[in-house]
Symmetry: C2
């Protein structure tokens, strides 16, 4: 049994059936880190297997005699974990160690997860990449900003990892790395302990290779009963990607819609101008306006240590007039009404998860446009890998659901995984 | 000239006209603290005038040669100020010192404000009071949870102070202490560095004796042009307080409406069941549900150090079913539509700011019900003192505005201050 390749759900079953114990699982994941981290670069801080196992035993003793599963979790370095580094992808916070757990981390610890380590983020979850490469091809970007979380899950180092999304920081790296991911309805999960970038666009997210695990994480974070049942979708509203996607992604999307139709899912062309109007531009402006607030401390005290693109983002936010900002808010409210009206019929929308496969090069993290409209509105989103490009890089689709209907959306995604085989590629030994 | 009694706006003018300098103002405020803190108990940590002045000079040097005004600001102890204590009203965080500025604090520092000190909060901004008493009568509560900020401003120790509101934590203490206050539209100001209690109910707020100062703080936080012009309201939607208010507050409210009518403001009876339906109960449930997330770290690690009411709040949140929570969210969305429809006509609603004057005793902070509906919806709110109870305690009214129309609301409040004399009582020497 290759323990590191199990899903979180599979790990729990294996333990329940006494086929292995949690320590063996953690050791298998640590071995996977040892073997592949030099190539992937998923972790923000060096993972010392001996030290991690020592911490694991300490936690197990602290929890005794109550059951401690201690199954491994990766956490993006913009999210605080008590007594662990949290440098937010910036030299400004080098050697910063968190003194408290983010709310989501605390809830997942209570549910029995163990933080293996902190994963690489771009600078303050914006554009400047960290050291991570795409596990499927080290010359390609893993996407960002939750680069390390996506790559660590794709490489089989952890079954699940936390991330956050302000533009496309979860859905895009999931699509590029070929894993499933979930972005929670904005505001539904506390962001205490998560470094904010834009308060009306930030959402928590999670990565896994198996959609079952996303349902499990959702239940842990909502403290609700577990529900692993798939739900067959009756219909999807298919969003027109316009000219944003490349040829391969366009074909992948058309093929995905055809597969759905063949399985009896009605495809209703969406009338939303999500990608063809100015929703994307409006999201960008609101993000800049709010980033100027959220990064005021760093901008005022350590301006020279910010990357040029981040400085430009902040300054474009500072330069916005209140009137222009209000227009964007009005525009967003109108779009919200249009989307809610459309979601009266199908439970969810479907769209390409990214503009194409992961681009070559590690200097950027790819285009975020396919996620901006949904993140602008704060809707729940799920990414599923469903195909490969000609160069063997993953391609994904995303489902977008009604607010607070995260579980219904995840149950439909699980159906797609089970019925259409839309899931993370097998983890290869090397 | 009694410098401590000036508004922030007045301090700026006095400096511009060379009638005094900023250091003299800070010294006057510090003297006021020295004279009255033993009675009022507004500050979470001892204020050492020599140390504060030393810090003020250091800041002035750091800003040189660019202009540094350094005018005094109080900041609630749930809001982080770099290198200052931030104990959040709980023994769990004793000796915690913040390592970064909250976004709002950083923006106000840039605008030239100087943090005189941290003000008393209730335990994690919930119910358990700190040491503060009402400056108008030390046997009465100042209200909570931003107790110290309201009391410090009312006692003339600082012209302005920051707070936050999840239920009634700004409007209620403002009404009890007889000062003006503003609660910003939810999400409009970053809450980075503000300890969260309930993410879909938390808003930033500010206290001042003069509505001009609230407009100034709004301009600083929005980084927009200053605008000190009053705006005459054409009409207000008058909300029926039902049976929630006591006789004195009921009379105060009726009189306020009569005064407005006499000044040509049309009073339109509101059809909203804000206080007579179950909006208040729904707010309480959502707050508990989210508090269970936000305080997961303390609940999981330091349960015995939480007060009984806070433990009960968290546990009632944990016990809520996902279905019940969803009903509350649906209910809130419906109420939102009703309020937006009503606000098509008048720019703002008006209601009593609290159920009565500050209750006797320091064991509680009074009833939060008059604010819960508006905080549930995240609307901007302004409190104005407008009368006194038979026992000489202040009574206030509140205006509730359209989302993101904070400035329009504040300009109307300024008109009420100027035309009707609704303002903080003069600060008396003792």
């Amino acid at each position: 049994m290759r323990l590191h390749a199990l899903s979180l759900t599979g790990m729990r079953s294996a333990i329940a059936q006494r086929r292995c114990n949690a320590q063996e699982i953690v050791q298998a994941c640590l071995q996977r880190v040892t073997d592949h981290e030099a190539r992937v670069g998923a972790w923000a801080h060096p993972i010392d297997p001996v030290g991690v196992l020592h911490r694991w035993h300490e936690d197990a003793q602290r929890h005794a005699p109550s059951p401690f599963q201690g199954l491994p979790l990766g956490v993006k370095d913009t999210i605080d974990v008590c007594a662990m580094p949290a440098e937010r992808g910036s030299a400004i916070w080098r050697r910063r160690v968190a003194r408290e757990d983010a709310a989501a981390v605390s809830m997942l610890k209570t549910a029995g997860l163990f933080v293996l380590g902190k994963t690489v983020t771009t600078e303050f979850a914006y554009f400047k990449p960290g050291k991570t490469s795409n596990p499927h091809n080290a010359e390609h970007t893993p996407g960002g900003s939750s680069s390390g979380s996506a790559a660590a899950v794709a490489a089989g180092m952890v079954p699940v990892a936390l991330g956050s999304q302000t533009a496309a920081s979860v859905i895009r790296p999931a699509s590029y790395c070929g894993v499933a991911a979930w972005v929670a309805t904005r505001g539904s999960i506390s962001l205490r302990g998560v470094m904010p970038l834009a308060q009306s666009c930030d959402s928590l997210g999670a990565f896994a290779r198996d959609t079952h695990d996303l349902l499990l994480i959702e239940a842990y974070l909502r403290r609700s009963a577990e529900s692993a049942e798939a739900a067959a979708p009756l219909a999807f509203g298919a969003v027109d990607p316009g000219r944003l996607v490349d040829e391969e992604m366009g074909a992948c999307y058309e093929n995905a819609l055809a597969q759905l139709s063949a399985h009896g899912v009605r495809i209703i062309p969406s009338s939303l101008s999500a990608y063809t109007g100015d929703w994307i531009a409006s999201h960008s402006r609101i993000m800049a306006y709010e980033a100027a607030q959220n990064l005021a401390f760093e901008y005022n005290n350590s301006r020279a240590a910010l990357s040029e693109p981040l400085r430009q983002l902040i300054e474009s936010g500072i330069d916005q007039s209140g009137e222009a900002h209000e227009q964007d808010l009005t525009h967003r409210a109108e779009a919200w009404s249009a989307v809610m009206a459309e979601l009266e019929r199908p439970v969810a929308l479907i769209a390409p998860a990214a503009t194409g496969a992961a681009p070559r090069g590690l200097a950027g993290t790819g285009r975020p446009d396919m996620s901006r409209p949904w993140q602008w509105l704060g809707l729940p989103q799920v990414c599923l890998p469903c195909a490969h490009s000609s160069s063997s890089l993953p391609l994904g689709v995303q489902l977008i659901g009604r607010p607070h209907q995260d579980r219904a959306l995840l149950r439909q995604a699980l159906w797609l995984q089970q019925q259409l085989g839309w899931q993370a590629p097998e983890i290869t030994p090397s």
